[in-house]
């Protein structure tokens, strides 16, 4: 019975980072970190600057080589795969700094991103995402001609294109106004729910994190110091001391 329960739990994990370490010489950017992302879950990663949140995303997406540990996607060990191969298997990401294709039109780049995953209906997928993110009216505009908030949405559109299974978002609300952040959070929640994509969200805006995340993991100095549902994490004394502050 216990074995069955354990197996079911593993089956619901779309992505697992197991005992992951990333060391640069003597610096331990990540040290024995394990994360488990369930299907359809939005998991928030929080922590002070330099805690290792973005390094986790880089490690999972293949931007960094692991010193130790494994990355498992739907039961398949993808630790040695390239970034391109991981993308084609369904792991997608956005970047802390807006990362779009400035010289290409909005539609052309999102359609290309969808096509590169091998999706048969790349055109429909691109149009659907652009409509959801309120970018359809800008479909022929070059990326470099968009406003900052529109570029952030385009960045998200590129990550969502091609129906990924897992989305890793590195501070998608960075630089946005409070209202833009809330709008983006709503778009994000709607899209990920409708598209049944699991999300790993690195974000400093606690209002957004506690509003849309199903679970939260807290980092400090490359290790996990707490994880669980948002309310429990918010109440954790160690987390309040390390990151949220006593007033949180």
């Amino acid at each position: 019975m216990a074995d069955t329960e354990k197996k079911t739990e593993v089956d619901t994990h779309v992505l697992q980072a197991l005992d992951v370490s990333v060391h640069y010489g003597g610096i331990r950017a990540l040290d024995g970190v394990s994360l488990h992302l369930r299907k359809g879950q939005v998991l928030g990663l929080i922590g002070p600057n330099g805690a290792g949140k973005s390094t986790v995303i880089d490690a999972i997406t293949g931007r960094l080589t692991l010193t130790r540990g494994r990355i498992v996607l739907d039961g398949e060990d993808i630790t040695t795969l390239s970034a391109e191969q991981r993308r084609k298997r369904g792991i997608s990401r956005s970047f802390q700094r807006t990362s779009i294709f400035g010289g290409m039109s909005v539609y052309r780049q999102v359609e290309l991103a969808a096509h590169m995953t091998g999706l048969a209906d790349a055109r429909d997928d691109a149009l659907d995402i652009l409509a959801e993110l309120d970018l359809l009216r800008l479909r022929d505009t070059l990326g470099e001609d968009l406003g900052y908030g529109e570029q952030r949405r385009l960045d998200l559109a590129l990550a969502l294109a091609g129906r990924p299974r897992v989305l890793l978002l590195d501070e998608p609300m960075a630089g946005l106004t409070m209202q833009e952040s809330m709008d983006m959070a709503e778009h994000l929640k709607a899209l990920t729910t409708r598209r049944q994509v699991s999300v790993l969200l690195v974000e400093h805006d606690m209002d957004v994190v506690f509003r849309i995340c199903d679970a939260v993991t807290v980092f400090e100095l490359g290790v996990v110091i707490a994880d669980g549902d948002p309310a429990a994490v918010r109440a954790d004394a160690r987390v309040r001391e390390a990151y949220l502050g006593s007033a949180a």
């Binding site: 970034a83 391109e84 993308r87 997608s92 400035g102 290409m104 990326g143």
Partner: protein
């Protein structure tokens, strides 16, 4: 259809030139401009699609001439087959070289191309037994090429028109290639290589293919030049030849595919058609270069495109209140 507009317009311009120009010497100058235009187009493709500046594309310009000279002298191969072989070998070798050097970013890439170009220059200068050394070598073109006798083919108006049509055909083929998915992929890599990797694009091969395409286009210019002059020397491989073609690209503009062609025409007009002022051609062209860099970074073609679009934009704006 949009990609057909510029080539169709250029074709009409070429035919009109043959209707109005009578002077043989003018045709020779125009032919030189066309050859340079194709050369510059090759460099422009690399800059436009890969964002890379080459100071060594004279390597492919001269290699075409030397390839023809060596094949026609020793192999007994028909000239048409030799031309095809030269372009194929050039494309393949450029692709293999590209797989290595396109990984090198920015100015380091430019220096690598400069080094390769100068190495080929020195090699051609010193390998007297094969290349004729610094004296160069004559190219033994057969009496007929593509079934047309040389005396007809090399008449200035005929050769100009053939060169012009080849330039238009090259422009058309390149614009059709770049309008495909491959063109989108190479633009994505140019704009943001890291992001391209994270949408699933393998970035090295498309960049190497663009490098090979630009080399083949430059090689076509080299073939035409060798046919026109019947001679090839190490000077064709010198870095200064690449630099002049690069200046044409900057003055003409590289964001529009036809920009380098405009730059080549402007260069030749300044150099050879301005009469007494031609002795100061480099100073005039240098001034044009400064003006373009400061006031029109997108080049003459970029300015022309802006002007041509302005009436449409104004018309659209005027329609808005009533729409």
């Amino acid at each position: 259809m949009h990609s057909l507009r510029v080539p169709a317009l250029l074709l009409i311009v070429g035919i009109l030139v043959t209707q109005f120009v009578q002077s043989g010497s003018l045709y020779s100058i125009f032919t030189q401009a066309v050859i340079y235009a194709i050369f510059a187009l090759g460099i422009g493709i690399l800059l436009r699609q890969n964002g890379l500046v080459s100071f060594g594309h004279a390597l492919y310009f001269g290699m075409a001439g030397y390839g023809m000279g060596i094949l026609l002298a020793g192999s007994g191969m028909p000239a048409e087959a030799a031309m095809l072989l030269v372009l194929l070998v050039m494309g393949l070798s450029a692709f293999l070289i590209g797989l290595v050097i396109v990984r090198v970013p920015g100015i380091a890439f430019s220096m690598l191309t400069l080094a390769m170009g100068q190495m080929s220059y020195l090699l051609a200068s010193r390998a007297r037994g094969v290349t004729g050394g610094a004296d160069g070598m004559g190219i033994a073109w057969p009496a007929q090429v593509f079934g047309v006798s040389q005396s007809v083919l090399l008449k200035p108006p005929t050769f100009f028109l053939i060169s012009w049509c080849i330039m238009v055909a090259v422009l058309l083929v390149v614009s059709l290639i770049l309008a495909t998915r491959f063109g989108s992929i190479s633009e994505a890599i140019r704009d943001n290589e890291e992001r391209a990797r994270f949408i699933g694009i393998r970035t090295t091969v498309p960049r190497a293919l663009i490098y090979a395409l630009s080399a083949v286009v430059t090689g076509i210019a080299g073939l035409l030049s060798s046919l026109n002059s019947g001679f090839i020397s190490p000077e064709s491989l010198h870095w200064s030849v690449s630099a002049i073609a690069l200046l044409m690209v900057i003055v003409g503009g590289f964001r529009q595919l036809a920009g380098p062609i405009v730059g080549a025409i402007v260069y030749v007009l300044i150099k050879d058609v301005l009469g007494d002022l031609a002795t100061h051609s480099m100073a005039i062209f240098g001034t044009a270069l400064i003006i373009v860099i400061v006031f029109a970074p997108e080049g003459i073609a970029g300015v022309l495109r802006h002007w041509l679009r302005r009436p449409q934009t104004a018309a659209s704006a005027n329609e808005l209140p009533g729409s």
